[in-house]
Symmetry: C2
Subunit: 426 residues, 2 copies
């Protein structure tokens, strides 16, 4: 594209997660041209993804089309494409078949799971980052009960009714609690040959306690609440091997059909194409103003950024960090356009929440710690409040109210790949 | 299984569509043991499938887990498996790894699309029978607009914004109307480089009029209502060839990216394994009591049955026929158990409805014909009323009310196979 003296600055935002979307909203209707590039056509409300995986919500309940969220911002164009590389010297972003020039770039491509070098484990134990992941996990969980109902092999039945979740952070805790609940309540009366409420749910954490980012008293409370639900919590234990038949924990082998990975993240590969320092999980080490070395026009936010100026540790990969960084990056761009310098970012930590099940959760509100019902109510309000779009909020509230009253979960559909599950490889 | 004089009669029902499910409900809590076998874990409300394909509803809104629908009927077991054959002499039903003995059998495995010998067309122009079909069509329709937004090739853009629907029965009419509506209202403001409201929607029907099962005045009205929506309706025209680039209609080639098949059905292959007479589309020719020749213990219902005693023509493949036949088959079994003969089936035709869009539909209520708003209101009530499960009804009603007021459609998610779409085959 030709340069012209009075043309509007071009801002490219890669990734329409919490950080990227927030930056786009903040820059909308300012005197800039914005291109938002994402490899999906929707913004995903990731904190509720585990509810899609456990059949409480439908994909569309927690996802809003990026176009529709930004439809009124006429200075924003949305491109459905996967970015393959960034050339900071030439100020170019490349997708498979297109190239975009920018004056300012915000990189917010997030993270995927990390299998610590065992990439073959991904197939055996899927993680939970995308809608496709959630649909696949839902399928595996429901298919395990279907298989248990049909088989006459007692050992196979037991393995099908054993669910191992690897990783005791918020996602692992949520998944363990949710699987325990659907087996004990939702599915309890639907089968004739098995008793779903006798399903084993095993949660494995390598550290000495669950939710290591939370205060110790809340970790203990979460463990107790999970144990009350019947979850077998094992801390200080690591999965040393996985195969089709189960999980190896040191000397013990646990036969199980469904294995779920919630243990680690790796930042998106896009970071590696920049040629700037990255940390051991692939995050870009940013300056204290979110820019990268020698390129103040490039800012990196959210799970892709390693920002360690505040606590000495990198900020955690949670949505409030991404949202605040998205807003800050937008402000920085507006400042730079006016010839001012980008400002130092400061994260305002309002606390953390993790939910376990009906009336069960933990909340670290900084000024106080909550457990059980009060924490769960706090979780409910925060998540409904921040859910994108008025329509989704009402829909989700309705489905939660329904599930709360009836213990029923509506989205128990097994779709995709059913045929391949039916006919085991010869 | 061993015979015993006082054991309960075993009823196997294959297929949990409208017919099979109705039969199971009617036999629930009677003195029989029932096995319902379906290859999916849900009952699908097929009349609303086009709304999933056009992003108005989520899969879970129109599907209910078979187990959960039948959960209170303790004499019913549900098996998730695909039946591969039936041996009427031995009274056995076979799946990939299991075998079921029956005293009475109800076959209700339905139909799939028929491509009139051109099986390679299925990949080019998917039909709309399953949730997977609907998700795939939704993906193709939404991806076409995304592609049109990105490309610089004017001819490719035009082809991406041309949608050809082959077959002018109720499904074709619904799809044509719904695609015209989302392009003209829902998507209209979401793009920057294309105007979705200029999308071409072409509906092709080989016969001289649309909706040939309806009275002529309603066919004319449907055509006018579609034309008002901007649909290009072509009757008396057949697709003579399809390829990636478009559709051949005799001498004319229409370049188009998305092609949708709504032209013909073939009954499920299970019928062919029985060794009884089938018609040219694979339907089993049943006796006037729904049983098959020499085997009164076997009944065939719904889209799999050719029942021609009432009008001289086979009854149409619509849900009221399947529902009434399901109930009748259940009654026949209860009669036969008591040593009585199965009774002749009589279809009570309450009329037909086809919807076109907001305030647009046709209804043949036998005693009167309706068009436009009154037909649409009738359609709305009938479909909400018959939707399985109280929860789904409320959810769907809410989403329709929302869509009606805002023209917004909530389920605009492109999932699955996105990667393969991104990178065209080399």
């Amino acid at each position: 594209m030709k340069e012209s003296r009075n043309r509007k600055p071009r801002v490219v935002i890669v990734g329409a997660g919490f950080g990227g979307l927030q930056a786009a909203k903040k820059l909308a209707r300012k005197n800039v041209l914005i291109t938002v590039i994402d490899r999906t056509n929707y913004h995903l409300f990731q904190p509720l993804l585990y509810q899609v995986a456990t059949a409480a919500l439908s994909p569309a309940d927690i996802a809003a089309p990026v176009r529709s969220v930004l439809s009124k911002s006429k200075n924003v164009e949305v491109i459905l494409a996967e970015v393959q590389s960034v050339t900071v010297e030439a100020k170019k972003v490349r997708t498979a078949d297109l190239e975009f020039d920018y004056d300012y770039l915000i990189l917010a491509t997030g993270a995927r799971h990390s299998y610590f070098g065992h990439n073959d484990w991904e197939r055996l134990a899927p993680g939970l980052k995308s809608l496709e992941d959630a649909i696949e996990l839902r399928r595996r969980i429901l298919m395990a009960f279907e298989y248990a109902e049909k088989t006459n092999d007692e050992a196979a039945r037991k393995a099908a009714m054993t669910f191992v979740i690897i990783g005791g952070g918020p996602t692992g805790v949520e998944m363990a609690g949710a699987i325990a609940e659907i087996s004990r309540y939702t599915l309890a009366k639907d089968f004739r040959h098995i008793d779903p409420s006798r399903a084993r749910v095993i949660l494995i954490e390598g550290e000495s306690r669950l939710l290591s980012a939370f205060p110790e008293d809340l970790s203990r409370s979460a463990q107790k609440q999970l144990t009350d639900l019947g979850v077998d919590v094992r801390t200080g234990v690591r999965a040393t091997n996985l195969n089709e038949d189960g999980v190896q924990l040191g000397d013990e082998f646990i036969p199980c059909r469904v294995k779920i990975w919630a243990a680690g993240n790796n930042a998106s590969f896009v970071g590696k194409t920049l040629g700037v320092p990255i940390d051991r999980v692939g995050r870009i080490v940013v300056n204290d103003d979110l820019t990268i070395a020698s390129h103040p026009e490039v800012q990196v936010i959210g799970d892709l950024a390693n920002f360690s100026y505040q606590t000495g540790e990198p900020l955690p990969g949670v949505s409030p960090v991404a949202i605040q960084q998205g807003r800050h990056a937008a402000r920085n761009i507006l400042a730079m356009i006016k010839g001012r310098k980008p400002q130092r970012f400061h994260y305002w930590d309002k606390g953390s929440l993790a939910t376990i099940g009906r009336n069960k959760a933990v909340a670290d509100l900084k000024f106080m710690h909550l457990s059980g019902l009060p924490a769960w109510v706090a979780w409910l309000f925060v998540h409904i409040f921040f859910l994108i779009g008025f329509r989704n909020r009402l829909l989700v509230l309705f489905q939660w109210a329904w599930a709360y009253l009836t213990f029923d979960k509506g989205a128990r559909l097994i779709t995709r790949n059913f045929q391949s599950e039916q006919r085991p490889p010869a």
